[in-house]
Symmetry: C2
Subunit: 232 residues, 2 copies
DNA sequence: GTTAATGGGTGTAAATATAACACTAATTAT
DNA sequence: ATAATTAGTGTTATATTTACACCCATTAAC
């Protein structure tokens, strides 16, 4: 008997992706949700999702589905958990792998989003969500908080050039707490992964604030040499 | 058209569990591996695994599979990651959800394990593993290290009653580093989740060392009231 | 052109947490 | 009696974290 037949006695399952898509705008952390256009629960708010196809990896499916909604490629995406309760969806058994994505809200394709019924919600004004999506969002938030303490992934949510005040607002939005300005700047600059530019942003202040960019090469170098990024 | 038909255009997949089973014995952190009894790669070392059935949740499948190998129920099991590369196994496309388990090695059913070709390996003498199982073990180790810093799950690996020296050995094995005895005891006792018993363990010393047990109720109470367990 | 308003930028001291360190105690085996 | 073994205990130095307040540069309004 060919050994492949060993598999045939087992059950197969639909495997889906659900994406928790974070963006940052207006000093607020936001979440992209879609209004379901089909039953069950047509009209409910839901995370963006889709099914894993036979010819793509689970990670690839997550990338593809994110691109379908936002038009964006090469986005920071991280798997958080797989939800496998038998009855977690109503009509069929679907095992869902949840990912969270960090996108720069300015790059997001609003047209495309609208065509999917997508809308941004402030993180503290999330409507009730279908199935176990609320739980997924909670887990993603906790993961994001934890992760931004030990890895500078928060930068993914900002434009390439940003001021220290913007960065602080972002961290405050993620951690839902205020940080002391002097301590924050001291700490973030002491990590030596930001490069100060010879440009100022004058949008939010009259004096103008220096723009910085994240130096990924330097970050990678430091990590490779055993340094460790710890915020807070 | 009934909305259930929406699902029918999607692919279904085999979904498996792979379990990274940690135990602690002889001052060493160990891993339970099985020698494969079937192709592909018969004779290779592998993690314990199995398939998720239609009538059970993914977590239930993980429990069931662990019980099949160890005879143990109600074991600490935590999902770590889902591995979804198309060709990660050789014969068929299998999406695998990895879990790690912490078991008290004394409770483990050796007979049953042997019948599955299972053997314990010291964490620093792990043989090459099949497929992406080595990667899974690495991720589980990192997760265990991190988790034991912020949550007292390490206790799952010890008998109900243990000495502070045993606990320290366990933490040293998990973190692969030595801790200062006085600092370790100070810190662990200051968390106030250990109860000292009126019994001594005389196995490992002539003088005898006080036995302690983990006070889960107190721990839950402290967590519920916002305290936070932080080792190190 | 003076002034008011706005967000930008900076240093120090106190408090807390972490890390380093060495001897005595109790028991058993010889 | 004594040698060997693991248990148990406090203090000081160092590093990290927190708290805290004023001047700066520019623009807009008068």
């Amino acid at each position: 008997m060919p050994h492949t037949s060993r598999y045939q006695s087992h059950d197969k399952h639909y495997v889906a992706i659900d994406s928790i898509i974070f963006g940052f705008d207006d000093d607020t952390l936001k979440l992209l949700l879609i209004k379901r256009k089909f039953e069950p629960c047509k009209g409910c708010w839901s995370l963006m999702g889709g099914f894993v196809a036979a010819n793509e990896s689970v990670d690839e499916a997550a990338d593809r589905i994110l691109e379908e909604l936002t038009g964006l490629k090469d986005i920071y995406l991280e798997q958080i958990h797989t939800y496998g309760e038998v009855n977690r969806e109503l009509d069929a058994r679907v095992i869902s792998v949840a990912y969270y994505a960090l996108i720069n809200i300015k790059d997001y394709d609003e047209e495309l989003g609208r065509s999917h019924g997508a809308e941004w919600f402030s993180i503290d004004e999330i409507p009730p969500l279908i199935f176990d999506h609320g739980e997924m969002v909670g887990k993603a938030m906790r993961r994001l908080k934890r992760k931004t303490i030990i890895q500078p992934i928060g930068f993914e949510l900002l434009p390439e050039k940003f001021t220290l005040s913007q960065l602080q607002s972002l961290y405050e939005a993620i951690h839902q707490q205020n940080f002391d300005k002097r301590n924050f700047r001291k700490k973030i600059l002491s990590m030596e992964v930001l490069t100060q530019l010879n440009e100022k942003d004058k949008v939010s202040s009259k004096r103008g604030a220096y723009l910085y960019k994240f130096d990924k090469d330097k970050y990678d170098y430091l990590i490779a040499n055993g340094s460790f990024f710890v915020l807070k």
